[in-house]
Amino acid sequence: MNGRRLFGDFKVVVLSYRRNPVALFFSLFFPIILIVLFGYILGGSGSVTTPLAVENLDHNSPASQAFLSALNNTTLVQITMVNYPPSEFASQLGDNGYTSGLIIPDGFQANYTNSTPVNVELFTNPQDASGAGISEEAVQGVVTAFNLHAACPTCSPIIGITPKNVGSQVYKEIDYLIPGLIGFTILTSPMFSMVDIAASYRKDGIFRELSLTPLTKAEWLTSRIVWYVLLTFLSAAIMIGAGVALFNAHVELNAGLLPFLVAGPFLFVSIGMLAGTVARTPESAAIIGNIITFPMMFLSGTFFAVSLFPPWLQSVAKILPLYYVIDGMNQVMLFANTTRALTDLAVVMIIAVVFFLLAIRFFTWRDE
């Protein structure tokens, strides 16, 4: 690697890119459009019903079932019956993505019929203000109705609510979306243009001309990687900024994100170059590029969280390199799960190095 050659080549990449409005649009404005579009789509479907995890410790007694069916009839909450160890209820809620939960205690029916005071436990997360409010409203309504129904208005209420906090972080869908969409641009922006460049520079003889200069293949590829890394930094910053500013997204900004913003473009510049190299013409390069890009575009957790997929599709997602980029960014930006992020990073780096070496191995400046 020679610094002056690398820098000279890099300059040509930057100038060519800067003067290409379509490329600029797709790498800088398109991400904003994606964030805004998906932010509003997800925001619009805003939770009218709040998911509520319910644990019935009263062994499905008729009274507890009547209570739950009344709760269901409020249509404010969407009840899912769970079976967590009562001592871990709060933490299990968090781990399973619930922000609200309800425990109906053992002896609920007996106490109710005896008019002995009994409390249900309602877990809410203060950070999810709207979810907490909705589940409180629903549970409170049903409790009041049961109390009225059971006793004289003058008596003290039988059923009470013990409020509890769920300590877990609240995630909105936009939170998941930001790493996904950053992953989307990490994939598409180098892939589409590298595939095209690799094939059309060959066709136009530009590679032949470069073959007569001391520029090496590794330098040529590296200057593109550096450029796409910078572009990724820029578009990630734009997307995070837009997500936070417009949709109040929660983003854990830490240095752990940076390795993914480097490794991702490194990987996809190499894959794009390899794809464009094995394709002999720009037309077949575009086809090969699409075949590689499209599954990753949708199945790697870009627009939809992979955990929502059926198991077989999850296995498919896990053979796609982009999955590890996005999962790693999720771990860093949402869950602060360093171990898993490091594993993801290692996977991405290994694949990237392999493809980089393959691209250099198979790429020839000229045919003979």
């Binding site: 020679n2 002056r4 050659r5 820098f7 000279g8 080549d9 300059k11 040509v12 100038l15 060519s16 003067r19 290409n20 136009d204 003889g205 530009i206 032949r208 001309e209 470069l210 073959s211 007569l212 200069t213 001391p214 520029l215 000229r366 003979e368």
Partner: protein
């Protein structure tokens, strides 16, 4: 002065086609060598073998005492190349292009000075995709010079250019020669070879059919200088039969080859004494073009005949 390029028994076979068929030539350092031939003759193939862009099937090739195929990286630092279809990054202007090549070669030319040498200063800041064909070719020339090459390879640098642009390229080629560089030029324009080249080789169907200085080729293969008289054909018959002077009829004019200084006087005397009326006379000499057209024509006629034979 040594040889910049030496080629012996060079053969290049493509599947089902011998594009270059046992050719030999040398190019002296500091000279302009024109490789002249019609389309498909094998010029580009030969040029690319010399540049180290293609491997050869057979033969010895030395360029600056290097084997272009095996020692390409070293050779490329010493040569400048404009390919037949020179293309460049569309959105890069000539100044940036020169800075780019300078960075790649690790040289420090002054971009404007280099563009001045190819008369392209006024387009220094125009993107490549807005340049005309001639301007693109000039940029190719300028780029070929960024590494201060000992040999410049120009593959049909003027094909498709207007006469003005062509002359500008010629001026650059002359200048390259005056700077002591070797120029390897391919062309299918005869006048280009005649005007610029110290040495010319004519190639057709992969074989060199004539080589030497343009003057030598004309003397050897062209018809001798001749007197062309505007007169009726009967004058030709008279000169042949009565005066013993070999005369031919060409394009309705009487032509007499001139072999010695006194020939012209003798012929004119015979014309005067014939009493046949005549309009005027000129002398004519074959150009390289006449030779070329005849040689290539003969070969192609031959080829056609043998193809037509049962």
């Amino acid at each position: 002065m040594g040889q910049a390029i030496e080629v012996h028994g060079l053969v290049k076979q493509y599947p089902g086609l011998t594009a270059v068929d046992h050719i030999d030539f040398q190019v002296a350092s500091g000279s302009v060598f024109a490789f002249l031939g019609p389309n498909g003759a094998g010029k580009t193939t030969t040029t690319e073998i010399l540049e180290g862009l293609r491997n050869r099937t057979e033969g010895d090739v030395r360029v600056l005492d290097l084997d272009p195929w095996k020692e390409g990286r070293r050779l490329h630092r010493k040569i400048g190349v404009i390919p037949q279809d020179f293309r460049f990054f569309e959105k890069i202007n000539p100044r940036e292009a020169i800075e780019y090549y300078a960075a790649l070669f690790g040289t420090d030319p002054d971009p404007m000075e280099l563009l001045g040498r190819v008369a392209l200063e006024d387009k220094a800041d125009s993107h490549y995709d807005t340049l005309s064909g001639g301007q693109k070719q000039k940029l190719g020339l300028a780029l070929a010079l960024t590494n201060n090459p000992e040999i410049c390879f120009l593959d049909e640098p003027t094909t498709g250019l207007d006469p003005h642009a062509r002359r500008a390229i010629w001026a650059v080629i002359r200048r390259l020669r005056s700077e002591g560089r070797t120029v390897f030029l391919t062309t299918h324009y005869l006048e280009e070879a005649e005007l610029l080249a110290d040495h010319t080789a004519i190639i057709n169907h992969g074989k060199i059919i004539a080589a030497g200085t343009p003057g030598e080729i004309i003397r050897r293969l062209g018809r001798p200088e001749r007197l062309v008289i505007e007169a009726p054909p009967s004058l030709g018959t008279y000169l042949q039969d009565q005066a013993g002077i070999p005369a031919e009829i060409h394009d309705g004019k009487v032509e007499v080859p001139l072999r010695a200084k006194g020939d012209a006087l003798r012929v004119l005397n015979a014309v005067a004494s014939s009493g046949i009326p005549w309009e005027g006379f000129t002398t004519a000499q074959d150009t390289l073009e006449d030779v070329f057209v005849r040689l290539v024509g003969q070969m192609d006629d031959g080829a056609l005949k043998s193809e037509a034979a049962p």
